[in-house]
Symmetry: C2
Subunit: 216 residues, 2 copies
Amino acid sequence: MTIRVLIADDQQLVRTGFQMILDAQPDMEVVAAVADGADAVSEARRLRPDVCLLDIRMPKLDGLEVTRVLAGPGVENPMRVVIVTTFDLDEYVYGALRSGATGFLLKDSGPTLLIEAVRAAAAGDALVSPSITVRLLQHLTHPRRTAGLPVNDPLTDRELDVVRLVARGRSNQEVAAELFVSLSTVKTHLGSIFAKLGVRNRVEIAAWAWESGVVS
Amino acid sequence: MTIRVLIADDQQLVRTGFQMILDAQPDMEVVAAVADGADAVSEARRLRPDVCLLDIRMPKLDGLEVTRVLAGPGVENPMRVVIVTTFDLDEYVYGALRSGATGFLLKDSGPTLLIEAVRAAAAGDALVSPSITVRLLQHLTHPRRTAGLPVNDPLTDRELDVVRLVARGRSNQEVAAELFVSLSTVKTHLGSIFAKLGVRNRVEIAAWAWESGVVS
DNA sequence: GAGCCCATCGGCCGAACGGCTGATCCTAGA
DNA sequence: TCTAGGATCAGCCGTTCGGCCGATGGGCTC
């Protein structure tokens, strides 16, 4: 059973490099190699590869956005996604994992790691670059605030006030008037809420509020 | 039992005019007269008048926004609000009623009508300018699309696709990628959804989706 | 064939949103 | 007393949102 792989990277050389490495494996076949996020989505839809190898930096849609579309929460039949990037910034890592990625590789990893990551993803396992794994483990043993990761930190009463109003569709200006504070304050609270819930926008706050019963 | 009234209008002359008319009534008392929406909210909170007389055009927060804060859906102990305006544009009327107003008056109405509108509002009834009432009745007998009024018009399948994704917090760009269409198309669908559901922003779409069970 | 609805797309533009930095005030606790 | 966290606020800035205009093509109905 060959593993069918889609490659998405805006750099031609990287694409062909990956393709050659993977095609050299007897159990792998690259079924598509595209240069931007939009193509990645459409080709992945069309071909339904076993594993998608996505670069983070891409035109139109970046790798994380593509991941959310293909494997994010709420997607049916989510696909296996491995994120490959030059940078190991924490935000990328946590963002990728939250978006639904099953693997995270640095481009300075050896070809062996790339192959193993694809194989792991195809099997439903996850392979993350060792240098990154270290930090993930640190995070587990010494949990601390990290960009993009939902923090198990309860919302304050005031933040809940903001959540309730936002979930009802109020604008920041209206929330400010309703809570009797300035626009700046509302935005500050919103920033804290984003960080604590690990969400990206006010609609996700609303969804969380409805799901958790904060509003009904 | 005197009816305590708050007046909010950015024009000094209008404020004092209204105040004199109402104060001349034995059963009425103007407890505040403010010049902008923010003051209207804070004074209404502080004094809890029986009726708020709000102009639509006001600095900081307009009359409809103030209405939503004081009497909108989801507000506890909603206050009685009468909207007063120079213009009888349909959008204003429907917007005011949707925002929670219990009355709608034109500034060219006679003082008698103003007094009766306040009295009606205090009693929980609604008085709308006769010239506007005509159109409201027309709308009941010959329902047709009108700006700002929720239309009992089912969403199309495609629009529901957009709703489901938006309710999960996806951006327009992500919805476009996920549905395999352009950003423009998503925005067009969103416009239709806004009109059909009678909502103002994507968070209200999300709230509707959760309430109606379109997502869960 | 004419009319209508739906889905699709593009461009323009102002308003709203969200990120970021940095600041003050107050209270509770070490 | 010093510290930490919460609530408040201000400004800057780039992105997204939403409104508004118009346009095309397909399918259905009268």
